[in-house]
């Protein structure tokens, strides 16, 4: 039985994939080893986890402006999340997603990190502001 989650309309293409979830914040520069494709910041709740091809479900965007360039660079090197779901992002991640062509959604009516479990199969539809949990 699938479950449909609603949010503000987002950016990027319709995407399907597996969720990697944490009630933590995110910056591509602060938190990732982009060459190895892992979370590299020791204090991050996803430390050591591989992110390539996963739909990241996180709390807030944090930190600096580098993610705006980095998402496209990650996409062109082929080590990149499939999509990004947040409770709330800052402009940098929106700009980065638009530049890279990666799906991004935020502003759910609930804490999205508590609603989606790691490993859930998701269909992400930014234009509709819709995320479907196909299999939890």
């Amino acid at each position: 039985m699938s479950e449909v989650l609603r949010c503000h309309p987002g950016i990027g293409p319709t995407t399907r994939g597996t969720a990697l979830v944490a009630a933590d914040d995110f910056s591509a520069r602060y938190d990732l080893d982009r060459l190895k494709g892992v979370f590299s910041r020791p204090g991050h709740k996803l430390f050591g986890q591989f992110y390539h091809g996963r739909i990241l479900v996180l709390n807030n965007a944090k930190g600096g402006v580098a993610s705006a360039w980095m998402l496209r660079e990650m996409a062109e090197r082929g080590i990149v999340p499939a999509a990004l779901l947040f409770n709330r992002v800052n402009p940098i991640l929106a700009q980065g997603a638009a530049f890279a062509g990666i799906a991004l959604l935020d502003r759910f009516e609930f804490d999205v990190t508590q609603r989606i479990p790691t490993g859930a199969e998701l269909l992400v539809e930014p234009a509709e502001g819709r995320v479907t949990i196909l299999a939890p």
């Binding site: 987002g10 807030n60 062109e76 709330r88 800052n90 402009p91 700009q95 530049f99």
Partner: protein, 412 residues
């Protein structure tokens, strides 16, 4: 989102592919944040270091540069990733240097002024209250919004470049009166002393605010801080909390009294005590441990900071197993050369870097090339960022950073 006739023509490709890309990118971002329209900007500031761009971003800039379009408003740059004069000594490879040269060449052909600084509000042209701008460095954005009363969102590299090309940016967030109202009240029970403590205090406020869309209002300061203090304060707040604006009654541009900046009665304050400040320092403490690299950077140093570092280093020598790096803007480097500060700093064995910032300079690769692990800095922003690059960071005062560089061990 409403576009005027000129913007519609850009979007339709009638003014060329470069402007079509730029306005389409801005339109996507503006629609995401419910911007009603575009607002003209007077200047733009691009973060474009080679580690962030990689080959993908560099090739993109080169493609734009091949066309005839140039930026429409003064457009300047954040720190570079490579100081060519020091590259071999630090371990920047030929590939890194080549990528850096390609980016510089592309940006120059687009008409961008290579200021290479994150302290343009101190060294290039500070914006005025109410001026709409597109600033591409979080420390620059929070300083311009808060201290100067100018209006900008965080503009990542592609968006700042788009703003330079179109001369406008989507009107949302900190371009709107409604986005600049106070949301969190913070009461200080401690007075910061020195730049490291100002940065630490900014970090604590950032953790409290914890969102780009929060505007903390800080009360309880006994004295008016200087520009360098608020530089570290804001940069750390933006780094720890993604915060883009704060108010300090009687100090910052849009807040004479606390009642002015809240909609309704001010909320109950969150208090910051001396123990909170000490706790942040303690979380990075490593007394007595060997220190591999001491860094003054993030933000780049003002002339006053350079003069202080020079005075602390006079007659001393950096330990042979420790590297001391000092980063400043090209304008300040030129001044430091002329005023003898460079000679005094480098006589100690320290390295004065021109137009770069440490964490934007391939920090991970430099650690591997030089065997660096333990880093010390007076920048709360830098110690917050750098652990993701594999470093063990320690926060200390300017004096203790210099003392540690000389001793080769952490001295607090």
């Amino acid at each position: 989102m409403k576009l005027n006739d000129e913007e519609q023509a850009m979007l339709a490709g009638e003014m060329g592919e470069t402007l079509r890309w730029a306005i389409d990118h801005q339109r996507q971002v503006g629609m995401f944040f419910d911007a009603p329209d575009m607002v003209p900007v007077t200047q733009a500031h691009i973060m474009a270091d080679p580690e962030s761009l990689g080959d993908a971003g560099t090739s993109f800039v080169e493609q734009l540069a091949k066309r005839a379009d140039r930026v429409r408003v003064p457009t300047i740059t954040d720190p570079r990733g490579v100081d060519f004069a020091k590259a071999d000594r630090l371990g920047h490879t030929a590939v890194m240097q080549q990528l850096e040269r390609r980016i510089i060449d592309g940006l120059e052909r687009l008409g961008v002024l290579m200021t290479n600084t994150c302290i343009n509000y101190q060294t290039i042209l500070p914006p005025l209250r109410g001026e709409h701008i597109a600033m591409g460095d979080t420390g620059v954005a929070i300083y311009c919004n808060s201290v100067l009363g100018a209006r900008t969102n965080f503009e990542g590299g592609p968006s700042a470049l788009a703003a330079g090309l179109t001369g406008r940016t989507p009107r949302y967030g900190y371009h709107l009166d409604s986005g600049r109202r106070g949301t969190v009240r913070v009461a200080l029970e401690v007075q910061p002393n020195g730049l490291a403590e100002w940065g630490a205090l900014g970090g604590l406020v950032g953790r409290i605010a914890k969102s780009y869309w929060s505007v903390p209002v800080i009360e309880g300061l006994h004295d008016v801080p200087g520009s360098d203090a608020l530089k570290h304060f804001g940069a750390a707040m933006a780094s720890f909390g993604s915060v883009a604006m704060y108010h300090i009654p009687g100090v910052t541009a849009e807040c004479r009294r606390i009642e002015e900046v809240f909609d309704g009665p001010p909320p109950e304050p969150v208090r910051i005590a001396a123990s909170d400040l000490a706790g942040l320092f303690q979380s990075y403490a490593a007394d007595g441990e060997k220190v591999d690299v001491v860094v003054f950077s993030a933000p780049q140093l003002s002339l006053y900071e350079l003069a202080e570092v020079a005075s602390l280093l006079d007659g001393k020598h950096v330990h042979p197993d420790t590297t001391l790096l000092v980063a400043t803007s090209p304008e300040n480097k030129s001044g430091a050369d002329r005023m003898g500060l460079t000679t005094r700093i480098e006589a100690s064995g320290a390295i004065l870097l021109d137009g770069v910032c440490f964490y934007q300079s391939y920090a991970r690769e430099l650690a591997e090339a030089n065997g660096w692990k333990r880093l010390m800095s007076n920048s709360a922003k830098l110690v917050n960022i750098i652990s993701g690059y594999g470093y063990l960071p320690t926060l200390g005062s300017t004096e203790s950073c210099v003392a540690s560089a000389v001793a080769g061990r952490i001295v607090q």
